[in-house]
């Protein structure tokens, strides 16, 4: 039912928990005044980012969204430099110029969160085009939401990617809401995956709260892209546990709906499966312990990082030279 060895499974558990706690602590840190900007927590959707990224290798690239911390962590980004960026400090991934909405990790091929809904989709298509043109075996993955699937960028990008058989995997995280608007009030369909047929592209649906289910379909889609067979639209049905952004109370969502999804918390789902597979609670506790340590260090690192000097605002408008992203 899964081709992943036990150690990998506990790694996935670790990664999901890291995202969960990174976001929970970020919310607290924002409350405490350490983070000046807005936050769109990924809490509840961890299985999607982790399941997809587990199917990727070095040389693959990703584009993300306003809700990008989970994607970035799942790709293996450094929580220290992420908190440093959220804190608006020099050692942040974007040297305090980007913040949550624009974070990148060039070595990991993480082309960035994006402040524009749907904005990352054409960029992923372009990255895939460059990978194809240079004969790389790399694949581009683009994460976006159900709401983004109503943007023109989605349509134009999927048409182009399928036409040119580009190595892209389009991952639609359908969490049933675009901002405060329920899906049935923003589109007349339930399964975004059916839109794949408009582009003669396979469209598949995964239980977005089951990391293994996501991983399985992601592997197929990535393999297909690598083989030069073109893109896939992968829809993951999931849910965000918190508001659209920190501060949003999410009153527009029925309590029963929230409760139902909380009961299917992706971390609980994997956790109980692991326990079922004979992983001891002590081992899970050790993972949780490790996660807290990582985040303690990350927060300390961010706190210790210097603030930028005001004049730095004038730097980085134009480039000296550019050879392209140096993938690790």
């Amino acid at each position: 039912m899964t081709d992943l060895p036990r150690e990998r499974l506990t790694e996935l558990y670790h990664d999901m928990l890291l995202i969960r706690r990174f976001e929970e602590r970020a919310a607290e840190l924002r409350q405490a005044g350490y983070i000046p900007g807005f936050l769109h927590p990924y809490i509840g959707q961890e299985a999607v980012a982790v399941g997809v990224c587990a199917a990727l290798g070095a040389g693959d690239v990703l584009t993300s969204t306003h809700r990008g911390h989970g994607h970035m962590l799942a790709r293996g980004a450094d929580p220290r430099r992420m908190y440093a960026e959220l804190y608006a400090r020099r050692d942040g991934y974007n040297r305090a110029k980007g913040g949550s909405l624009h974070m990148i990790d060039t070595e990991l091929g993480f082309l960035g969160a994006n402040g524009i809904v749907g904005g990352g989709i054409p960029l992923a298509v372009g990255a895939a085009l460059q990978l194809q043109r240079t004969g790389s075996s790399g694949v581009a993955v683009s994460f976006f939401g159900d709401g983004a699937s109503n943007e023109g960028a989605f349509h134009e990008s999927l048409n182009l990617a399928s036409l040119w058989k580009l190595p892209v995997v389009f991952v639609c995280e359908n969490n049933l809401y675009g901002e405060f608007t329920r899906q049935d009030l923003h589109q007349p369909i339930r399964d975004v995956a059916i839109r794949a047929s408009s582009y003669a592209m396979p469209g598949v649906i995964a239980d977005g709260n089951d990391v293994l289910a996501v991983h399985r379909l992601a592997q197929e889609a990535v393999a297909r892209a690598r083989a030069g067979e073109g893109p896939t639209l992968l829809e993951a049905k999931t849910y965000r546990h918190r508001g659209h952004y920190e501060g949003d109370m999410g009153r527009y969502r029925p309590p029963e709906e929230v409760a139902e999804w909380l009961a299917r918390d992706p971390i609980l789902v994997l956790g109980s499966r692991l326990v079922g597979d004979g992983v001891g609670q002590d081992e899970l506790d050790a993972i949780a312990e490790r996660v807290e340590q990582t985040l303690d260090e990350a927060a300390a690192f961010a706190e210790a990082s210097p603030h930028p000097e005001p004049e730095e605002a004038l730097e980085d408008v134009y480039s000296e030279t550019y050879e392209g992203m140096a993938l690790r």
Binding site: P36, G37, F38, E85, A88, R89, N94, A96, K97, G98, G99, L101, H102, N114, G115, I116, V117, G118, G119, G147, A148, N150, E151, G152, A153, G178, E179, F180, T181, L185, H186, Q187, Y252, H307, P308, E309, P310, E311, E312, A313, L314, V317
Partner: protein, 328 residues
């Protein structure tokens, strides 16, 4: 007299115009049940119902286009594109369609819609949620552009915008939403093209609008202590622009300072400077000075953002330099 916020003033104008004319309706993302990301449309959905306050999908081109199309048939839509940065996704509908309809059709059709553009930074809102793009629309013949700085002007100009037979770009600054001021119970529409001298002075005419107007006023207070007298002129509508008002002020001062948050290069301040340097040349006693946003995108870190945006200190410093220069 009662005091209300800028956001409440806009809300009242929308409500009163909707009461007055059933052809007026609202379109936008999350403006209905959610009351808008900035709360401007709070309560209007409950009061006027779903046929007057329409929540749209995240489809900027279609939602603005729907407003334009409805306006051709005589509807009076008020379209919110939320952060004006997202207007980049609706430029065809605004610029190629709405702005040119009346002209292209030899005067036979018009597109009387109002487009609400939420402008400027709100603190760490970063590069894609902070832009001040008014200069683009000012440069687009067929559009009218208004940029109120106070609750009263916001209410009076919104009423005029909705009743105007042409497409109007209505710029609202995020940092103004919660600012309060006295607004009478009954407010009449304010005809476009009427600037106002917000503060009288004798040494320098300082032209400013939106949030920067208040920084300019604060600078004027400071400068007064030093014996430098700033006359502060708020054009209120950028297109049409109150040339007579500017001329009258320059007749008193002979010196021109222009301050706005948008990047200096190609900003609306350049047009004001060009008007003065060509049409009011004989009134000028010294170089025109612009105090504007730096020619950079908006950075995330508060220290950097503070450097980019012209504040009272920078405005005051510039004014001082004008006087010393004048003396020398």
């Amino acid at each position: 007299m009662r005091t209300i916020s800028y956001a409440a003033a806009i809300r009242e104008a929308l409500a009163e115009e909707m009461e007055r004319d059933e052809l007026v309706f609202l379109l936008g993302e999350d403006i209905g049940q959610a009351g808008g990301v900035f709360g401007v449309t709070q309560g209007l959905y409950e009061r006027f119902g779903p046929t007057r306050v329409l929540d749209t999908p995240i489809s900027e081109e279609a939602l603005v286009g729907a407003g334009v199309g409805a306006s051709l048939l005589g509807g009076r839509p008020v379209v919110e594109v939320m952060f004006s940065d997202f207007a980049t996704l609706a430029m065809d509908m605004i610029v190629n369609q709405a702005a040119k309809t009346h002209y292209m059709t030899g005067g036979r059709l018009s597109a009387p819609l109002t487009i609400r553009l939420v402008t400027g930074t709100a603190g760490a809102t970063s590069a894609q949620h902070s832009q001040s793009l008014e200069a683009w629309f000012v440069h687009t013949p067929g559009l009218k552009c208004v940029a109120p700085a106070t609750p009263l002007d916001a209410k009076a100009l919104m009423k005029a915008a909705i009743r105007d037979p042409d497409p109007v770009c209505f710029f609202e600054h995020k940092l103004l939403y919660n600012t309060k001021a006295a607004v009478p119970e009954v407010v009449e529409p304010l005809p476009f093209g009427q600037g106002c001298v917000v503060r009288e002075g004798t040494d320098i005419t300082a032209v400013s609008y939106l949030n920067t107007l208040h920084e300019t006023l604060a600078a004027a207070d400071e400068l007064e202590q030093e014996g430098i007298s700033l006359e502060v002129f708020d054009p209120r509508s950028l297109v049409p622009f109150d040339r007579a008002g500017l001329r009258a002020s320059l007749e008193r001062t002979g010196r021109l300072l222009i301050a706005h948050e948008a990047p200096q290069r190609g900003g609306f301040g350049a047009e004001i400077a060009a008007i003065a340097a060509s049409e009011m040349w004989e009134l000028l006693r010294g170089p025109i000075v612009r105090v504007c946003g730096t020619n950079t995108p908006m950075p995330y870190a508060p220290e950097l953002e503070g450097f980019v945006i012209p504040d009272r200190a920078r405005i005051a410093a510039a004014a001082r330099s004008m006087i010393t220069a004048g003396v020398a």
